[in-house]
Amino acid sequence: MQMLSMIVFLVMSLMASIAMLFMSSIFWVWVMTDVGTLFLIPFLSAETRPKKSWFTGVATYFVVQFFGSVMILGGIILDWAIQATDCSSAMMCFGFALKLGMVPLHFWVSRSFVYFHYGGIFIVGAGQKVFVVACVPLFSDVPLCAYAYYLMAVGSMIYGPIAMFNAIAVKSFLAYSSVTHTGFLVIGSFFGLHIVYAYSFIYCVSMAFLVFMLWSGDCKFMKNLGSELPGYYKTGFVCIAMSFSGFPPFLDFCTKFVIIQLSMEQNSTITITAVLTSSLINLIVWVWVLFIVTSSEVKEPGFLSGTTGQNVLNMSCIIWNLFMGAGFSMLY
């Protein structure tokens, strides 16, 4: 019953988010965003073994999202009532940045994620964010806000991997990974919605694989990843880690390559520097993660040693990370 309710609320949230993409007015975008967030609350609260901690995570998430929505609504009303474009854009910029968890408004992300279940981490960290990023106005009529939004995205891309290095809990690690990729998505939105949609799809699928593998092993701490992650998923996890490291020819390298190419066409030096810096730090972080995962003293089953479904998932993950990069490059 609980699973059914989780699915129902998730579907309703998804429908609200999809509807949001088709709204032409910023007010209705705000309405649908909030409806989607509200439907996520029961989904995030669902726990097979209820404990006090779920309340902490969900409450933090709800309060932050509520405050962000208030700021956005305030900005909309100000713009409608007294056409104070600067002030309203500043409030909306703050509100969206808070909802997305961009640096320096990212304080709630790790605090919430640590108490979420893995499904919630995927939905909040990847699913919800891609919809919100797609509907954020880029504040083109208020350059100061546009620059602030852009610089927050740059800061997220660079700060995120540094914080990942210091993460003790796996969920905290995923939180900061989400901050990094949010920054990347926002940067992509400056080059066009098609980039956002393409990267969103890629990011969601990659995160789905990653989160599922971590959930199946009930991984809690980074230092125990080697022993907690199931052996039959290790090859797939290694592929994801190599992809997120930015090694060619894996998938994440190809997406970053496209962003750099677009930045080069528009002479955006800051973006190029930010992407390269973020890639370098990400490389070091994920190499560290790779070695934690592969250094296990426990003798465990290896590649293709799980059930059919597990093996299919593992192989799909490997194929996705190894070959979709080339596919994406050719399609783009």
Binding site: S245, M264, E265, L276, L283, V287, F291, T294
Partner: protein
């Protein structure tokens, strides 16, 4: 293309063999592929056997391809004899074969974009080899160092080929551009990644860490062929952008001269054999850099003689150090002397390899050093003082190494795990000697006619 297809088909066939036969089969395959790759050696100009839409090979790339195949085969041969290569050996075979496949393609591709992708991809199998079979917990930071230096250093190159793709529509490497005035930042971006890979002073600090943590087979591949990627990349970039002697090149040559002296000095101070060989690689690669950046035919010939010769000598040193350190379970030079005393034939092989490393005739390294020295002195004669210091220091550390390994001070008890070195153990070493003779007799292969 035919070589790649042959490699793929052979690998497919080897998969169906018994696990214990696979090692021998793979080694034989590498021998066969090396022989096949000799078809591409056609002197100056493009090899007709290699022409295709994706690949194009000349004498510089064909020599590197043959070197890759040979060294990867040696790596498997030497690793199969090592008792400290724990775990599933077949994984090692797969990684080395994959690495070789990537390297061969890297030396064959037509476009800078594909070259970059393959250049970076070679890091993955090597990092896996060090990670899985490296001895100590410090292997993780060593891989991080290696990855960060290599990937970070080649970011400017990534930007350059993206610029080429965006503005010119192609990063085809065989278009030779008109000589234009390009500033030092551009040249720095072109060459930085390759200079780090070589490694050039002062970007060399990743190499000793990587060598110390890598297993013997990994060190063989790293020293034998992976460092040469840097030299090959520099050659291609010079060809593509019509590089001539510029202030950037003179700066690089200056650093290299200092680096050669520095490397030799650091070799004198080492007690760990693998670190000593790593610093000696830094010294020798400095001569390649001097030859390449001198922008003379003589320098180019000298550089490639050094690249190819070093590709056989340095792995030979690592093979010997691997055998010797396995006997005494230590990489300390003073402790390794017990192993040499237990198996006196090792002393002879050490003498031969140390002399080859030093550049004693008839080793081709002396030809390379002479040619490189001639190029550098032609620019500024007083550089000879620094080069003289290098020759003295390299003689000193070689002599010191040999003396430490073969000291005859008697001990009450020798701690060795085995006291016999068989033909099988030394087979890798024999296969490294033969190509040196070939290089000696064909040293003018890289001269442009």
């Amino acid at each position: 293309m035919g070589l790649l297809i042959l490699m793929a088909l052979n690998c497919f066939c080897v998969m169906f063999l018994n696990k214990k036969d696979q090692t021998v089969a793979v080694v034989n395959c590498f021998g066969m592929w090396s022989a096949f790759s000799l078809m591409y050696w056609g002197g100056s100009g493009v090899s007709r056997e290699s022409l295709s839409e994706l690949f194009c090979v000349d004498i510089y790339s064909s020599s590197m391809i043959s070197l890759s195949l040979w060294i990867c085969g040696i790596s498997i041969l030497v690793s199969s004899c090592m008792i400290n290569l724990r775990g599933v050996f077949n994984t090692y075979l797969v990684l080395v074969t994959l690495l070789c496949f990537l390297l061969v393609q890297c030396f064959m591709v037509n476009t800078l974009a594909m070259f970059y992708v393959l250049f970076e991809s070679t890091l993955i199998p090597l990092a896996s080899i060090i990670g899985i079979w490296g001895g100590q917990i410090e292997r993780v930071p060593s891989i991080q160092y290696m990855a960060a230096y290599t990937v970070g250093g080649s970011f400017p190159l990534l930007l350059i080929f993206i610029t080429m793709e965006v503005h010119a529509g192609s990063s085809f490497m065989w278009f030779i551009s008109m000589k234009t005035s390009l500033n030092w930042m551009f040249w720095g971006g072109c060459f930085l990644g390759f200079l780090i890979k070589l490694p050039a002073f002062p970007f060399h600090s990743w190499l000793p860490k990587a060598h110390v943590q890598a297993p013997v087979g990994g060190s063989v591949i790293l020293a034998g062929i992976l460092l040469k990627l840097g030299g090959y990349g520099i050659t291609r970039m010079m060809m593509l952008f019509s590089y001539t002697l510029e202030s950037f090149g003179i700066l690089v040559m200056s650093f290299s001269i200092v680096g050669s002296v520095y490397g030799a000095f650091m070799c004198l101070r080492q007690s760990d054999i693998k670190k000593l060989i790593a610093y000696s690689s830094v010294s020798h690669m400095a001569f390649s850099i001097m030859g390449l950046f001198s922008c003379t035919e003589v320098g180019m010939v000298g550089a490639y003689i050094m690249l190819v010769s070093h590709g056989f000598i340095s792995p030979g040193l690592f093979v010997l150090s691997g055998i010797n350190s396995e006997m005494v379970h230590s990489r300390k030079i003073k402790v390794m002397s017990d192993g040499v005393r237990a198996a006196p034939s090792l002393g002879f092989f050490w003498l031969v390899m140390i002399m080859a490393n030093l550049g004693v005739p008839p080793c081709p390294v002396i030809i390379s050093e002479v040619l490189s020295v001639v190029c550098v002195i032609a620019l500024y004669p007083w550089v000879f003082v620094l080069l003289l210091m290098y020759f003295i220091l390299s003689g000193a550390y070689s002599f010191s190494l040999y003396c430490q390994l073969t000291r005859t001070k008697k001990k009450i008890k020798m701690k060795v795990f085995f006291n016999e070195v068989t033909l099988k153990d030394m087979s890798a070493l024999y296969f490294l000697f033969y190509p040196l003779a070939e290089v000696l007799f064909k040293w003018d292969l890289w001269a442009m006619m």
